[in-house]
């Protein structure tokens, strides 16, 4: 007993550990900083394993180990390799963390492999999926990933003259005399509203214009009312709107009501709230080369390039588009965040997916660009 029991317990422990290691999802979810390294890294004897090792190390930000699994380690320097993963200039990628990935082989030979990876990023503005193709090459017994050269734009030094235009707001104290604060809220108007059922819920979408001569901070709220006059749900335009509207500017808006169908709705109560805010007329971002194209999966996407006409870096651009039918009615409002920062006088591509059932009806579109610039919002 003196020896048997310890041996049995030790053996059972080892077996249990082995079972845990061989079971699915062994890595589990990590909370907080994805730190530390694995005690057991499998040897990259297959393209799949090699890419998995690279992605796991990238996920855990073990840059040394990740860079070691790159084939052409001389070609990209380590700094640009890391920058590819971590982003730069306060872009959305710089705020993101790799949360997961799905690897799919496209083409594998004895010495080369082409893999397609769906990267799942967590970002401050919600989860983002990024599809990326990787090339791997065999080096002796192991496989390594061939890392492409970075295509980050290089901005030459230059001076860009700017005529600043901004509105400041002076608000008096809370004990001001009644009537002394006679500044009205900006005058804004909902120019169109289109309720429709979509996927797993109801959607209200349209456009809003600022009819005033000062900037407005706008939020659109919609309340769905049933036949008895009771509110079924109330939602806001949230991030499907450009909240700061300069005079005469138009923005699309979309309000989603998950798990509601319009057959249960008698009435939609719209409420637009506009407030005075300090605002700037810069930066001006042009939306160039807009066209609808199919993507690699055959889905229709609205593509184009954002061009930063100003002299300041836009860290996170957000593209919102109204899609119109041939009568000029807003069919859908789609949006997407651009992962790369928009440096002064440079372009960055964007693409927004158009729902399958609407792609054929879209005749025209209106794209607006919302933006987050560090320290200026």
């Amino acid at each position: 007993m003196r020896l048997i029991l310890p041996i049995v317990l030790a053996a059972v422990t080892v077996v249990l550990i082995a079972v845990a290691l061989t079971s699915a999802n062994a890595t589990g979810k990590t909370v907080g900083i994805s730190a530390g390294s694995s005690f057991l890294t499998p040897k990259p004897t297959t393209p799949d394993q090699a890419l998995s090792n690279l992605l796991l190390n990238a996920k855990r930000r073990n840059w040394d180990e990740a860079f070691n699994s790159v084939s052409n380690a001389q070609s990209p320097n380590k700094k640009s390799f890391i920058q590819d993963w971590t982003g730069s200039y306060g872009s959305l990628r710089a705020f993101s963390a790799l949360e997961g990935y799905d690897i799919r082989p496209l083409h594998i030979t004895n010495d080369e492999a082409q893999m397609r990876v769906r990267l799942h990023w967590t970002t401050p503005v919600g989860p983002i999926e990024d599809v990326r193709d990787f090339r791997l090459a065999r080096e002796g017994e192991i496989w390594k990933t061939v890392w492409p050269k970075s295509d980050m734009p290089i901005v030459p030094s230059q001076v860009i003259p700017v005529t600043y235009l901004r509105w400041d707001l002076v608000s008096g104290g809370s004990d001001d005399e009644w009537g002394a604060k006679n500044i009205d809220a900006p005058r804004v108007r909902i120019v169109s509203m289109n309720p429709l059922d979509f996927a797993e819920g109801a959607v209200v979408l349209g456009e809003v214009v600022n009819e005033d001569t000062i900037p407005a901070f706008v939020n659109v709220t919609a309340t769905l009312v049933d036949g008895s006059g009771n509110a079924i749900d109330e939602e806001t335009s949230f991030d499907k709107i450009d909240h700061i509207l300069l005079p005469k500017q138009v923005t699309p808006y979309r309000i989603d009501f998950p798990k509601v169908k319009f057959k249960d709705v008698k009435n939609v109560r719209m409420n637009i709230k506009a407030t005075l805010v300090p605002a700037s007329a810069d930066p001006v971002i042009g939306v160039m080369n807009q066209k609808v194209d199919p993507d690699y999966q055959g889905k229709a996407v609205l593509r184009g390039d954002l061009f930063n006409e100003s002299g300041q870096t836009v860290n996170i651009p957000h593209v919102i588009a109204s899609l119109y039918d041939n009568n000029g009615k807003v069919l859908w409002v789609a949006d997407g965040y651009v992962e790369r920062a928009l440096l002064p006088q440079t372009s960055a591509p964007f693409s927004i997916e158009i729902p399958k059932n609407m792609a054929s009806k879209v005749q025209n579109f209106h794209v607006v660009v919302n933006q987050y610039s560090m320290g200026r919002n």
Partner: protein
């Protein structure tokens, strides 16, 4: 049971109250901020209560003596209840009326108004005394509106139940509109910004440069000739071979300009609000 008993006792006391109430002599009404003298008949000690808007006092008093209520405890207009509890309690009520007008609360709308709009500007005035009580007695309020040196309105309205109001049109030229409500030497001033209406006759010009086409408007005015405020968005659209490029550019110093990325032949248009500008046909580079 106890509340019922208490209610009975109070009712009994109240039924006796009128006889005692006559022992408290109070003015029927007083003026806010002014002293009031009460006299309470009887002898011996009693507890004196004063309950009114913003005040709730209790004192030990000698019955038969006059009680002077300082003006600073009677600043708020309204009804004041005096209760004197010897054995039993007696009560009386008096009103404090607002003093003479001291200030005017003046609400003017809107704060920004397009030029040449009828019934676009309105205002309401409420006269208050120095203790912020609404003066309900009729007060003639003089409303004056002036845009630059031109007077738009000068009329007097007498308050009804404490309120007087006006409504009028905006002038034809942009700029500040001074709005004043006055009574004797008291006045309240507000400013309404009169702004240009919709842009009128938007004209575009463009020229090719190294990176594409630089397009800009001529100075943008409304139909009365007022310059449209800076910051107003002009949307430029370039169509080149089925590919569209757009730039929302703000007017700066009267002109909006944008750099369009188009190498081939392009048709460029511009719009601000509901107003469309001319089309520019630019040849290929």
């Amino acid at each position: 049971m106890r509340p019922l008993l208490r209610y009975g006792v109070v009712c009994l006391a109240l039924s006796l109250a009128p006889a005692w109430a006559q022992d408290i002599t109070a003015p029927k009404s007083a003026v806010a901020g002014e002293q009031v003298t009460l006299s309470i008949a009887g002898s011996g000690k009693a507890t004196f209560y004063l309950i009114g808007p913003g005040i709730s006092n209790t004192h030990e008093i000698n019955l038969g003596e006059e009680i002077k209520l300082r003006g600073d405890v009677l600043r708020t207009a309204g009804d004041y209840q005096v209760v004197v509890c010897g054995d039993p309690c007696k009560s009386a009520t008096f009103y404090v009326m607002p003093a003479k007008p001291f200030s005017i609360s003046f609400l003017v709308h809107p704060s920004r108004v397009p030029v040449s709009q009828s019934d676009a500007v309105s205002g309401v005035a409420f006269p208050f005394d120095q203790f912020h009580n609404l003066v309900l007695a009729p007060v003639p309020i003089s409303f004056q509106l002036a845009s630059g040196k031109a007077s738009l309105l000068n009329k007097t309205e007498t308050t009804k139940s404490g309120a007087a109001w006006f409504r009028t049109a905006s002038s034809k030229s942009a700029g500040p509109l001074q709005v004043t409500a006055a009574f004797q030497d008291i006045s309240a001033k507000r400013v309404v910004q009169q702004v240009a209406s919709e842009p009128c006759n938007l004209r575009l010009t463009g020229q090719r440069n190294a990176t594409g086409i630089l397009v800009q408007t001529e100075p943008v005015h409304d139909c009365s000739g007022n310059p449209v405020p800076d910051g107003t968005i002009v949307s430029f659209t370039a169509n080149a071979g089925g590919v569209k490029s757009t730039v929302d550019a703000p007017i700066k110093k009267g002109i909006a300009r944008a750099q369009m990325d188009a190498n081939g032949a392009a048709v460029i248009s511009g719009a601000s609000g509901v107003v469309m500008g001319n089309e520019l046909h630019m040849g290929a580079k």
